[in-house]
Every structure is written in structure tokens, then in C-alpha cells.
């Protein structure tokens, strides 16, 4: 039990570091000549990174057999939502100066903003239902709801790919990692079904 507590503290601290770093650089006037752009970029990139780490937990459990990874998954998911929300606040408040007309126009007319907004909206119900009470209450529906995360990573990568001016290397790396994590799950799922079927055939009911 102590084990898992210290692990959680470590994960929590690690996830706070990017924010601490931004605040520190802010006070040092070290956020480039265009601090809003810099903060948008950093919060965006950390959203994607922590989301990928979140998605890596199940494959890691599959590969290592250790359930510890599942114990920290919720916290990682919530940190993903936290950085995505910071990203949104910086965009709407600092960048647009709370000009909601401009915001609506952006969401409707700029595909990369449309998908980014959609990704954040899809995370919202997951963040709200990420407690034990809701897990119990929703049962099987909870699992289905939280599978939306695959859609979110797809939209997140698309958001990044569409906003880059010329060099696609970085967003393609993130997309590649996302696809790899998804592939591990698919292989595991297909493999698992085949095993179940074989098992069913060996011990036919009745």
C-alpha cells in the first residue's frame, strides 16, 4: 500500500513539473518574444505527451503483467485534461482576450481548432466520471465511455499536424507513438479472442 502511495506522489510531482517550469520561465521573462504562443505550444505539447503516457499504461500492464500501471492511469488521464484545459484558457483568455465572436469563428472555420475543441469536449465527460462512484454506477457503459480516449488521441495528433507550417516531423513522431500503442492493444485483443474461442471449443458448454 505504501508502495503505491509513493508511486502516486512521484507521478503527481512529475506531472506538475511542466507547469512549474512554465511559471518559473514566466518570472524569468524566458518565454520568448511571444510568450502567449510559447505557452500555447508548451501546454499543447504536454497534453499530448501525458495523453500518450496515459495510453501506454494498459500496454505496459499487458507486457509486464504488473497492475501498478493501472493504478496510476486515472491520475495521468486527469493531468492530460488539466493541461488541455490550461491550453484552452490561454487560448481564449490570453490570446483572444475573451473575444467570444472570434472564438466561435475560429472553432467553425479553422479545422485544426475545430478538432482541438472537439478533443477537449470529449475529454470532459471522462474527467467528470473518473471517480469510483461513477465507475460503479455506470458499469459497462463506463468502459465504453472511456474508450473515447482513442478518438481524442487521433484528434489531438490531427490538431498538431494541421497547425504546423512546414516541418511535419514532430507531429508525425507523436502520431507514430499513438498508433503503436493502439496496435499493441489490437494485437492483444485479437489474440485474447482467439484464445477464448479455442478454450470454448475445448470445453463446449453442455
Amino acid at each position: 500500500m505504501k508502495h503505491i502511495t509513493s508511486l502516486k506522489v512521484a507521478v503527481f510531482t512529475a506531472c506538475m513539473l511542466p507547469l512549474g517550469w512554465m511559471v518559473y520561465d514566466g518570472f524569468q521573462h524566458n518565454l520568448t518574444a511571444d510568450p502567449i504562443e510559447e505557452l500555447l505550444h508548451r501546454t499543447g505539447i504536454w497534453t499530448l505527451r501525458i495523453l500518450l503516457v496515459t495510453l501506454a499504461m494498459t500496454p505496459l500492464k499487458i507486457l509486464t503483467g504488473s497492475a501498478l500501471f493501472i493504478r496510476i492511469r486515472r491520475m495521468l488521464g486527469l493531468f492530460t485534461f488539466f493541461y488541455a484545459s490550461l491550453h484552452m484558457v490561454i487560448y481564449v483568455w490570453l490570446d483572444l482576450g475573451l473575444d467570444w465572436g472570434h472564438f466561435l469563428e475560429d472553432v467553425i472555420e479553422r479545422p485544426y481548432i475545430t478538432v482541438g475543441m472537439l478533443a477537449w469536449l470529449l475529454m470532459l465527460p471522462m474527467a467528470i466520471t473518473s471517480n469510483k462512484r461513477m465507475i460503479r454506477k455506470l458499469g459497462k457503459a463506463w468502459k465504453r465511455l472511456h474508450q473515447t480516449i482513442y478518438l481524442v488521441i487521433g484528434l489531438g495528433c490531427l490538431h498538431f499536424l494541421w497547425l504546423v507550417k512546414s516541418d511535419l516531423t514532430e507531429p508525425l513522431i507523436y502520431t507514430g507513438i499513438g498508433l503503436t500503442l493502439l496496435l499493441i492493444r489490437i494485437i492483444h485483443y485479437v489474440h485474447g479472442r482467439r484464445k477464448t474461442r479455442v478454450a470454448e471449443n475445448r470445453h463446449p458448454q453442455t
Binding site: A33, E37, L96, G97, H102, W162, K165
Partner: protein
């Protein structure tokens, strides 16, 4: 003559600022010497005067304008040029003039610049990425250079090329752009009184990361038209293809006039983030002006043209 550093308080007085070389060095020492790149460029900036027609109050700080640059020849990130441009050798520097003109040849930069009257002009600079700065440039009218070259009547366009030398420009080892960087203007745009061949900024010679020793400034167009570290100028009878147009023709055109009504296919051009002298974390967007606010000088050039087609 007394040197007055008019930019310290981000104000430009209407008092004429005359400089000679020794005072320039002093200015460097007094001001932000540490920020100046250690370039070997030996050009002596001749006497020049601030053009009062182009005074704007709040300047971008020299630090921001010299450390936040798009210059892919030195790397893709905006801090790369200031970090990597030290490898560029700007002396000796030769500019080749060729194509449809009488006065062709290879010209030493120092000899060439001596032919023209330098002046300081404060211009807004609007990047196609929707941020902007206000910068005091030092330069001479491109119109004067064009006259010096004596173009033939068949010449309708002017074309520029940046240096291609991956040893000096490490970014050219990658393939982000088909090198060398290319730009062009219609000859009447080149002759417009706003178009400036630039050799300095903030009262000093250009730092390497800002396009030393010679760059173009076209203030009513997006910043990427302002080709840096020019080695070739050519007069043409046909419209050249500029680099960004070659990379993504559906996103970047030949004209690239600042136009809040014509959006980039992926983002809005209606507003911009102005990078000022101070800490700009709480500077929300401002409205972008048609022709970057220089419509009185240039709108006539595009009469009758569909600017959403010729973007």
C-alpha cells in the same frame, strides 16, 4: 554632432539622428552590445537620417527583434537563428546583378551600399504566422538600386536569391525548403517608395540572424517576402516563383500582401499578436490592417485585382 539613442525608452523623437562609425560603436557599447552577433562584417554605415514620415511610437525591443526570427537557413525554431547565425561570413560579400539590365556584374557590398542614401525608417512587420513587430530599419530605397541597375524595358519583375552555403548555413543541410531561398517583386512594387533594401536596424548594422549584410523589407507584405542575406538580384520578364509559393502554392502566393480579409487556409489573418517592448503575456490580439496600414502608399498598385485570387 551628438549621438542620441532615441530607442532606449521605445520612443523615437523627431530629432534627426546622425551617426558616424565611431558613434555607432559607442552606441553598441552603451546599448545592447552583448546582443549583437559577432559578425565580421566591416561595412561602415554612412550618415543617415530618420525619415519622419514613418515614425511609430512603440517599438519592439531590440532583444526580441534579434532573438525571435524565422530564418530557416539557421534552423526551424525561432531561437535558432540567433544561436546559429554566427557561422555566416558577411565579409567579403558579393552581390551579383544579372538578367534584363544594363549594369550587370558582381558588386562588393560595401562599394554598392556607398552608391545610395541611407535612412532610418520605422515599419510595422507582419508575419504570415499572425504576429507582428515594429522595427527601425536602416536602408536605402530599392528604387534607387533598380535605377542603378538600368533595367531594360522588357524587365517586368525583380528576383532575389539568398546565399546557398550549407557550411555557413547549417539549416540548408536539411530539406525544409528547396534552397536557395527565392523571392520576387513586380517592378512597380520594387519602385514603390516604401520598398527598402536594408543593411541595419536599431541604428546598427544588421545582425546575421536578421539577414546580414543585405535584406529586403516590404512593409505592406507578409514578412517572408523580406528575403535575407541576398547574393543575387536578377531582372526578369516573367513572374518568378518565390520559395513559400513553391512549397505550398495553395497557402502562399506571389503577392503576399497583408490582408485581414483573405485568411490563410488554416488560420485567420484578421488579427495579430503585437510583440512590443515589454512583457507581452497579457497582450491580446489587435486587428490587422489592410496592407499592414500602408494602403495610402500601395493600394493603387493593385487596383482592379481580385486580391483573394492573387494572395
Amino acid at each position: 554632432m551628438k549621438f542620441k539613442n532615441t530607442h532606449v525608452d521605445h520612443q523615437v523623437t523627431d530629432e534627426a539622428t546622425y551617426l558616424n562609425r565611431r558613434q555607432l560603436i559607442q552606441a553598441g557599447v552603451m546599448g545592447t552590445a552583448a546582443l549583437m552577433s559577432p559578425s565580421a562584417w566591416s561595412l561602415t554605415l554612412p550618415k543617415h537620417q530618420t525619415n519622419d514620415a514613418f515614425v511609430i511610437d512603440e517599438l519592439t525591443s531590440e532583444k526580441d527583434a534579434t532573438t525571435y526570427n524565422n530564418f530557416y537557413e539557421f534552423g526551424l525554431s525561432k531561437s535558432d537563428p540567433a544561436e546559429n547565425a554566427g557561422s555566416l561570413k558577411t565579409a567579403p560579400w558579393t552581390v551579383t546583378i544579372e538578367g534584363l539590365c544594363e549594369n550587370k556584374g558582381q558588386f562588393d557590398i560595401e562599394q554598392l551600399v556607398k552608391q545610395f542614401q541611407l535612412e532610418e525608417r520605422i515599419y510595422r512587420m507582419r508575419c504570415v504566422e499572425a504576429w507582428s513587430m515594429v522595427i527601425p530599419w536602416l536602408g536605402f530605397k530599392l528604387a534607387d538600386l533598380v535605377k542603378f541597375c538600368q533595367p531594360l524595358s522588357a524587365a517586368k519583375y525583380i528576383y532575389f536569391e539568398t546565399l546557398y552555403d550549407p557550411k555557413q548555413m547549417p539549416g540548408q543541410r536539411g530539406r525544409s525548403i528547396p534552397w536557395p531561398y527565392r523571392e520576387g517583386l513586380r517592378l512597380d512594387e520594387a519602385m514603390n517608395e516604401l520598398t527598402l533594401m536594408t543593411v541595419g536596424m536599431y541604428g546598427k548594422k544588421l545582425p546575421n540572424q536578421n539577414g546580414a549584410p543585405l535584406r529586403l523589407i516590404v512593409p505592406w507584405k507578409y514578412g517572408f517576402k523580406g528575403i535575407k542575406s541576398i547574393v543575387k538580384i536578377k531582372f526578369l520578364d516573367q513572374q518568378p516563383v518565390n520559395s513559400w509559393q513553391a512549397i505550398a502554392p495553395q497557402e502562399y502566393g506571389f503577392y503576399a500582401n497583408v490582408n485581414p480579409q483573405v485568411d490563410h487556409p488554416r488560420w485567420s489573418q484578421a488579427t495579430e499578436r503585437r510583440i512590443t517592448g515589454g512583457f507581452s503575456l497579457f497582450n491580446s490580439r489587435i486587428k490587422t490592417q489592410m496592407f499592414n496600414g500602408y494602403g495610402d502608399y500601395v493600394a493603387d498598385l493593385y487596383k482592379g485585382m481580385d486580391l483573394s485570387r492573387y494572395y
